[in-house]
Symmetry: C2
Subunit: 338 residues, 2 copies
């Protein structure tokens, strides 16, 4: 592997001149250097450059689950913005584990110039870490109480409330929720939005209609099974994220429960295949790619020093996509829950 001295020698200049040329400054021997770089297939050693300058030309995107289509969309948005800039984008998966997130972030902190983070939980020690390292961070989708950081969020509470209103409007009173972990921003906000939304309409959710799961498919599956095993099962269920919705649908399918005749279901987060399912799934949708775009812009602005001093907090709104997984409660059961 050639180094900068090899290039300098071949081009008949000093290493300083080569370095300047590489950084885009105007130098007399530009052509000769370009030629030497090409002949030797020279690429600057990233480690040496970082060590000396403190700049890594890379950012990290840390997400709990790359498998989740929502994060895939987020990443897509981030990359579309970063593609044109000088920053490499590294994706890091934490598998919804706080410990893994912590150790992984501690490691990459020294390898990147900024981080876009969707933290595993709200009891996260990670941000303290990052703050100490002094590199900019943008929170995506999830937020931390207390500390103020740049963040791009969605109106979780509003979206969940809309789901409650919609279900109530259809005539349901026996409404259940399969919520995410209450120590995550989306888990807590969607849960509260849905429950208070229902309460405001005079519908109280009994304890057994409140299932707290883990944002994963298996969790949604189990939760739905528990709901179905109840002496008086609900007539409508809200699932707080896409993966749990899939799990719930599988449970329904395996128990031969018909949707929406026997049970109505609304999910938070659209699914690419939602329209192809039977029945087509009614969901609360949000702009995932745009969320990534905005997060990336925020981070890039910080890195460029353009950012305003105070943390920015962007909240995107959701919308209900009505398809066919909800209808009025079954005749024999309507209103029975009151």
């Amino acid at each position: 592997m050639p180094n900068i001295s090899d290039v300098a020698r071949r081009a008949g200049v000093s290493t300083a001149t080569v370095s300047r040329f590489l950084r885009g400054q105007h130098v007399r021997a530009a052509d000769a250097i370009r030629q030497a770089v090409e002949d030797l297939a020279y690429r600057p050693a990233a480690a040496a450059r970082s060590l000396r300058s403190g700049i890594h030309y890379a950012i990290a995107v840390v997400v709990p689950d790359v498998t989740n289509p929502f994060f895939a969309g987020l990443v897509k948005g981030i990359e579309s913005v970063c593609r044109s800039g000088p920053y490499n984008v590294f994706l890091v998966n934490t598998d919804e584990s706080v410990d893994l997130e912590d150790s992984v972030v501690a490691d990459i902190m020294h390898r990147v110039d900024g981080i876009i983070l969707a933290p595993a939980t709200e009891q996260d020690k990670t941000p303290a870490r990052i703050k100490q390292a002094g590199i900019p961070v943008v929170f995506a989708d999830r937020e931390l109480p207390g500390e103020r950081f740049d963040s791009v969020l969605v109106d979780n509470a509003g979206g969940a409330r809309a789901a409650a209103v919609y279900l109530a409007g259809l005539g349901h009173t026996r409404i259940a929720t399969i919520s995410g972990p209450l120590n995550t921003t989306p888990g807590r906000e969607r849960h509260e939005g849905f429950v208070t939304g229902a309460e405001d309409l005079g519908i109280a959710l009994p304890d057994e209609y409140i299932q707290i799961a883990d944002f994963r498919e298996a969790g949604g599956y189990q939760a739905m099974l528990r709901l179905l095993a109840l002496p008086e099962p609900p007539t409508a269920v809200f699932c707080a994220n896409n993966l749990m919705t899939v799990g719930a649908l599988k449970a329904l399918y395996s128990m031969r429960v018909r949707v929406p005749q026997d049970l109505s279901i609304v999910g938070f987060d659209d699914l690419d295949l939602a329209s192809l399912l039977w029945p087509p799934l009614t969901v609360i949708d949000r702009p995932t790619v745009e969320q990534g775009v905005l997060a990336a812009r925020l981070l890039l602005a910080r890195l460029a020093g353009h950012g305003s001093p105070e943390p920015q907090r962007v909240v995107l709104s959701t919308r209900l996509i009505e398809r066919a997984s909800c209808t009025a409660p079954p005749a024999g059961r309507a209103g029975q829950g009151r």
Copy 2:
């Protein structure tokens, strides 16, 4: 940010001793050093370490499309293996672009110790790059002609052939394929496997039944539309990957074509939601997570110097999962294609 000298001073030892301690060697002042590290919240600067030792403690996984559930599974397998080791896993997306892949790989080559690569095409200059850098690479899913590398593949041809046999066995003769790019390993192998599989059964695919798309959802959608617009549309279609299958299904749905009554469809690659679709989708499945596990093991073995000198080439087999998207051709049309 504290450095190793700060720690050494505080613990009353030399930097060399601290360095040894950090690398796990037995030192007398272990307790004092541990304490100093903790007090200062010291973390070694990755750049300095890499520069000096040439080791990055990181590997990169380069894939064409993180959005594709197949790659998500692959990544899951890779991470499960690497979790316990000293290597960070960075995921890099190339958006199915050769140019992007090339520039991205050129960049990360100097930041990681090894690469697991699913190359965008077979005309790739990337491997030459990597070879020059001298770091180990394992090919996943896709392969390059000529050069021999470690690789973990699936029996694309066999799987596609099985699809042809299955469709023919149902009585179809007007069989079409929506294939992927023929300059990618899976694109070419699945295409040839399907076409020759059909030929061996005495069924020739007319040109207009051969649609070459791009492994993306939109491509599958367009291809299916073209097929449906034919004067004599096929009675059965094979889709060479999951994303194109989704696109094709959407096209069918929008044109009100009933599956499988009007048209049978088999996809390559299972979909998490395949069983929930209407009708449940029949597919050629393959072990995606296992593919990642094996690729990671191969790479780790190379990094540890354990690998056998010759490149390993692992080929996993596929299996047909029969659900309900295929049936015999419509009565009025059967055999008409001959």
